[in-house]
Each structure stands twice: as C-alpha cells, then as structure tokens.
C-alpha cells in the first residue's frame, strides 16, 4: 500500500511531462498546417493582406474558384490525374519493393551483397542529373504526355528504396519460416501466407510512402507532362499566378486530405506487428 503511494506522484509527473511534450510537438506540427488551411479561407485572396499569421476576413471563395473556374486552372481534372498516377504507382511500386526487400532479406544467393552495395552506391548519384536522360528515354518510348509513363518511372524506381523494408524483414525470426518449410510450403507460399501477414506495419509504411511520392512530386510530372489538362496537382499549383495565394493554399489543402484519410484508415495496421506469442511459437 505504501509502495503504491510512493510510485504515484512519479507516474503523474511522468504523465504530465509526456503530455506537455506531446502538446508542444503537436502544436509545432499543427501550426503551419493550420496557417495553410486558414489562408485558403482568406476573403481577399492575397496573402499580404493578413495581419500577423492569419487572414482578416474569411470566405469560401477560393474553394469555389478551385472547382468552378476551370477554364484556365482545371483543378478537378488535375486532382483525378494525380489520384490515378499515385494509386497505380503505389500498387505496383509497393509490390516490387516488398518483393525485392524480402528476397534480399531471406535468400542468400550469389551476388547478393554486391547487389546491396550496388544499390547503395547508385542512390548516391544526384538524381536530377539523370532527369535529362529520363526525359530523352521517354521521348524515345513515346511516353511523354502519358500518365502511364510516369507510373512506369515511379514503380521502376521504387525498388531502389528497399532498404527500409529489408531492415524490417530482417527482424522477423527465421523460426517462423522454417516451421512452414517443414510443412512443405514453397518460397512463394511462405512469403504470401506467413511473412506478409506479419508485416502489416511495414506494408502500411511502404504504401503510404509509395503513394505520397507521386502524389506530391513536382519535378517528374513537370518534365514529362506538356499538356495542361494532363497536369498533376503539384505542377498545376505551381503554374498559378503570384497573386492567387488563397487558391494555391486551397489546392494544397486538398492535396493533404487523401493522405490524412489514408493514414486514419491504415493507422490500426501500423502498430499491429508481431505479438510476443507469434515470435516464440
């Protein structure tokens, strides 16, 4: 009884500190986002009429303009283009990167270490230097001005970042695989039936990042999409006039929404990794 009483103040202090830090961190992350959201509701449209951080008057007009004034800046179209590109690249890219990471983690084949070192070195090359070559290549494949060209590049580039996933697969004990192998399962089955279900957190992480890259990338679509009606949101927003900040902000807010929704849908899988029982089993 006395022991409990002694612990309690410490635990309370710990909780108070924890929550203070959490609130401070949340504020730091929230504030710029809040600023962007409120700027999108600005009544005047210009960012310079604000006093301090936030607009003096509010209205929905920028959102209205975003979806109705489409002659010049066809935001709904751009949004659908981006969604298509991001979803397709996310699916294909995630599959490729998970496969690569799994193989690199579980199979000890010849040349594996060389491959690992090779990808690391390739990652060091400044990527924009290669952009010129990517553009030339796409002109030769006839894939400029197509969304599939972009999807191809995003998906093909995804396996280069397999290290994160490999690190995760490395922590899944071999014991699990071996048990299944004794039962006569093939490598493919072990991967699909045993390892993937244990890897939900990293699948969520992978698909989130495979989605956000094409979703918010500016450089590649700018390079490969010449027609305004094929633009993605990022390219389109950058072409907005300099006095249209509220509209820019409104467009940016809408880019963020799908990622936040995706997070809330997937968040419960993010922490549902191995349970202690499965490891020892």
């Amino acid at each position: 009884m006395t022991k409990k009483l002694r612990i309690k103040p410490a635990a309370t202090a710990d909780a108070v500190i924890t929550y203070t830090v959490l609130i401070a961190v949340s504020f730091l992350f929230l504030f710029p986002c809040l600023w962007l959201v409120l700027a999108s509701f600005s009544g005047s449209g210009s960012i310079y009429s604000f006093s301090g951080f936030f607009p003096g008057s509010f209205s929905l007009s920028s959102f209205g303009a975003l979806f109705t004034d489409t002659a010049m800046y066809n935001y709904p179209k751009w949004f659908m283009n981006t969604l298509f590109i991001a979803v397709m690249s996310c699916i294909i890219g995630s599959v490729l990167v998970l496969l690569t990471a799994y193989v690199m983690s579980r199979f000890k084949f010849k040349g594996r270490k060389a491959l690992m070192r090779g990808t690391l070195v390739l990652g060091m090359y400044p990527s924009f230097m290669g952009m010129i070559a990517v553009y030339l290549l796409m002109t030769q494949f006839g894939m400029v001005n197509t969304h599939w060209g972009l999807i191809l590049i995003y998906s093909a580039g995804a396996p280069m970042g397999y290290m994160v996933q490999k690190g995760f697969f490395d922590t899944i004990p071999y014991a699990v695989d071996e048990a299944a192998r004794i039962d006569g399962a093939s490598s493919l089955t072990v991967f699909l039936r045993i390892n993937l279900p244990l890897s939900l957190p990293i699948i969520v992480y992978t698909s989130l990042s495979a989605f956000t890259w094409p979703w918010s990338d500016f450089i590649l679509p700018k390079l490969l999409l010449k027609q305004k009606d094929l633009y993605t949101v990022a390219v389109g927003l950058m072409s907005l006039g300099e006095t249209e900040f509220a509209r820019f902000a409104a467009g940016s807010v809408f880019i963020g929404v799908p990622i936040v929704i995706l997070y809330f849908c997937l968040s419960k899988f993010l922490v549902s990794g191995l349970t202690a029982g499965a490891v020892k089993g």
Binding site: G45, A71, M72, Y135, T139, V144, K226, K228, S239, T243
Partner: protein, 472 residues
C-alpha cells in the same frame, strides 16, 4: 571442345556481323540525305505562300491573354476568317514558359509561340524557329525598326513584335496632394514632379514616411535586375558590348546609378530587399499603403482586380512613364539637370516553330494576330503597349509614351543571346546587397562611398564573366 567453342564463336560472329552491317548501312543512308539538303536563304524556303488545307495549328499564348478572354476572341475571329481554307487555330494548352528547344525536336511543342524576345531568339541558334519572309509580313510597315531589331539575327527576321514590355509607373492619383500645382510642379508643365523626376519622387516618398510610418511612397523589390539594371544603363552601364566577353555593368558612371538604388531603398523598408514588394504591390497600392510601384504594362489587370477587391475606385489607378534621373545621381539634392531614365525592356511577339507541319497557315495566323484590329483589342483587354505604331497612336496615352521612349532609344531591349541567363543571379545578388545596405547597423554598411559601388559592380561583372566563360 573446339567444335563447341566454334559454335559459340559463330553465334558471336553472327551478332557482331549483324550489328556491323546494319549499323554501317544505317549510316550510309544518313549521308545521302545530307547531300540532298537545300542551301539556306534569308528566310525559310518552307514559306511557299500556298496555304495548307485542313490543318489545325496549336498556338501558345500567355496566361493573362487566355484568362482575360482575349485569346478566345482571337482564335474565334481567325477561325471564322479562315473557315473556307479549313485552317483552325487552337489553344496549345501548354506552359507559357515552355522551352521549344526541349519539346520541339521530339514533337511536343506548339506551332506558333508567343514569348519574350530573349526567349524566342534563343531558339535561332538551333534553327528551332523559322526565319519569316519580310514581304509577307503585313505589319512590316507599321512596326518601328527598333522593335524589329529585337527579332533580327543572321540576316533573317524570326518573329513579329506584338507588344513592348518596359517598366512603367503605377500610382495612386488620389494620393497626389491637392495643391500639387503649387508645391510639386517646379517646371509648371502641368505634370506632377514625382511622376517626372526620381528626385521629386524620393522627396515625396520621404515626406509620406515622415508623416505616417506605416505609409510608403515609391516601393519596389529593388533586387530585381530586370528593373534595377535601368539605373546603371542611364549612367553609361551596359550588359554586353561587342560580344559576351565585354561586360559593362561598371562602365561609365554606372556606380552613380547603383547609388540611386541605395538612396531609393532608404525611403522604403526591408521589404524592398526580397520579393515581398513584387508580390504585395498590387494589394498595397489598392489599399493605399503604397503610393507608387514600378512594373510592366501587361499586369494592369492584376491591379484592377485588387482595386475592386479593396473597394478603391479604379479611376484612382494612374499609369505613367518612368521619371527622369538627376545627372549627378543625388536624389535629395536641389535638382540637377535631368537625364532620361534608360530602362530595360523587351518585345513580346509571335514566332513560328520549325517543327510545324503547316508553316504557311502559321504565318497567316501571325499576320492575323498582329493586325491592327486585334492589336487594339489586345490593348483594350490586357492593357499592353502595342508594337504597331498605328495601333499605339490610336490607343494613345501610355502606349504612345512607351513607343516614343523606344523610338528615342530610352528603352534598352534585352539582349537576344543565350548568355543573358547568366546575368540574373549575379546582378540580383548585387542589387539585394545594395538594397539591404541602408538597413544594416551603422558600422556594417558596405556602400558608403562611390568606390564601394564601383567595386561591387566590377565584382558582379566578373561573376557574370565567370558564369559564361570559365567553363566554356
């Protein structure tokens, strides 16, 4: 073993032989094509004068023209006029700043482009745009020679000037004191002094600041080389002389011009050091916080939009040619002799892409779009300054003034050379350094004497030289 090695060898020889044979053959047919090429002439032989039938030409226009509805009017009128010939013009639907050098050779560029002269003339080197036949250009007589000059290279004409871009002053006419005829019209010519002389503008601005610390007179993002270079030009500076080896930022008394920039900065606030004023100028002129800003004629509609939003009558928006400079460069002085403010300008116009399939139809479009009626319409809707003399004199006012300045050689047209791209960053850094100077603590100021300006200009010139030549 020998047999098997021979089999592999045979396979290798087959592949290598194929590559050798077909690679060589591919090359031969190339050289034959070269011999059949046609000798170059003053203009492209593809302009035969015969209109192509049943073609669609993609036209790249600038965003403001599309937004304000001018472009739609233009292509509607053109399509109606050329319906019989089956020629149709459409919006190219591309980025107004596209680079034809990158897009054209691979078939992704427009047929007709509307861009600034320094951009368009960059395409001449690689023959990406066509030299136009002067005889077939309907606006030939009406456009002054100085505007055509911007499009001349290698003995050919590569574009048709449409509008002249030169800095002009936008100001609040209602903020000029009511008694300006007594106080602010020293030469009694019926024009307020602050619109005529930078000295008067400086004194007027200082007066405003002293009366109300939150109000400003003349404001400008002074680092912006497009506008700031004019102060150097006025006192003898230049960008390139004979060639790009001759860089003249510090030539003549250009240091005096740099001093003018510093004086102007001292009656503004720190916003003049970065891009802030360029972006907030529209709204702050409308709200009355600024008295005047300097920018180009084609953004007129952005001002009217902000005036409407702020509830300020658009009548209060005045546009004037830029003021003149004191010969000694002392803005606060008693008023030395005035010299004209030589500004940097550009000529926007149409050019025809070499990659078009219908050059003659494109030429017809360019002629149509640079016609008298369309020019006047463009001026009315977009507020731009027409390059056509007849349209400019009909439009009057600002258009006439700018055309006169061009004729008087007071507008230095941006050099139409590729190396110009290397000027902006060194010059911009220098001007922001100068603009920042009045806001540095007393001991840290860099530009307190004429020699410092000269040194700064020389250093910037050296950087430009390095950027262009050291790696060449």
């Amino acid at each position: 073993m020998l047999k098997r090695a021979a089999a592999i060898g045979l396979h290798a020889i087959l592949i290598i032989g194929l590559i050798g044979f077909f690679g060589f053959r591919g090359n031969i047919s190339r050289s034959e094509a070269a011999e059949s090429s046609i000798a170059a002439s003053a203009y492209s032989p593809r302009f035969t004068g015969e209109l192509e039938h049943g073609v669609t030409i993609r036209v790249l226009e600038n965003d403001t023209a599309i937004q304000q509805g001018y472009f739609e009017e233009l292509i509607d009128a053109f399509n109606a006029a050329y319906a019989e010939q089956g020629i149709k013009a459409v919006d190219a639907n591309m980025d107004q700043y596209l680079d034809l050098e990158n897009d054209g050779p691979y078939g992704y560029g427009p047929d007709v482009l509307y861009q600034a002269n320094d951009v368009l003339m960059k395409y001449v080197d690689g023959n990406h745009i066509l030299a136009l036949p002067p005889d077939a250009l309907e606006a030939w007589e009406q456009i002054p020679a100085s505007a055509w000059e911007a499009y001349q290279a290698q003995g050919g004409i590569y574009g048709v000037p449409v509008n002249i871009q030169a800095p002009v002053l936008y100001y609040r006419s209602d903020m000029i004191p009511d008694n300006w005829r007594d106080e602010w019209d020293g030469d009694k010519n019926g024009v307020p002094d602050m619109l005529e002389s930078w000295g008067a503008m400086y004194r007027f601005s200082r007066g405003i600041r002293e009366g109300n610390p939150a109000a400003y007179g003349y404001m400008k993002s002074l680092w912006d080389p497009y506008f700031a270079l004019g102060y150097l030009f006025s006192y003898g500076g230049y960008i390139f002389g004979e060639d790009t080896y001759d860089i003249g930022l510090s030539a003549g008394d250009a240091a005096i011009g740099a001093g003018v920039i510093r004086q102007l900065a001292s009656v503004m606030n720190e916003d003049c050091i970065d891009d802030t004023v360029t972006k907030n100028g529209y709204a702050k002129l409308a709200s009355g916080e600024y008295f005047a800003v300097m920018t180009t004629p084609d953004v007129y509609t952005l001002f009217t939009k902000e005036f409407n939003l702020a509830g300020t009558p658009v009548d209060n928006l005045g546009v004037a040619a830029v003021p003149a400079l004191p010969a000694d460069g002392d803005l606060s002085g008693p008023g030395a002799e005035l010299i004209p403010f030589k500004v940097m300008g550009g000529v926007n116009g149409y050019a025809v892409s070499s990659y078009t399939k219908a050059p003659n139809a494109c030429l017809a479009f360019v002629n149509f779009a640079s016609g008298y009626d369309m020019m006047l319409r463009r001026n009315a809707l977009l507020g731009i300054v027409p390059a056509r003399a007849d349209a400019a004199s009909e439009a009057g006012g600002l258009s006439e003034m700018v055309n006169k300045k061009l004729a008087d050689n007071e507008i230095v047209i941006m050099p139409s050379v590729r190396a110009l791209a290397q000027v902006w960053t060194p010059a911009g850094t220098l001007f922001s350094d100068i603009a920042k100077d009045p806001y540095r603590p007393q001991g840290e100021m860099k530009y307190t004497e004429a020699a410092a300006f000269q040194e700064g200009l020389e250093k910037a010139g050296q950087q430009i030289y390095d950027a262009i030549h050291t790696l060449q």
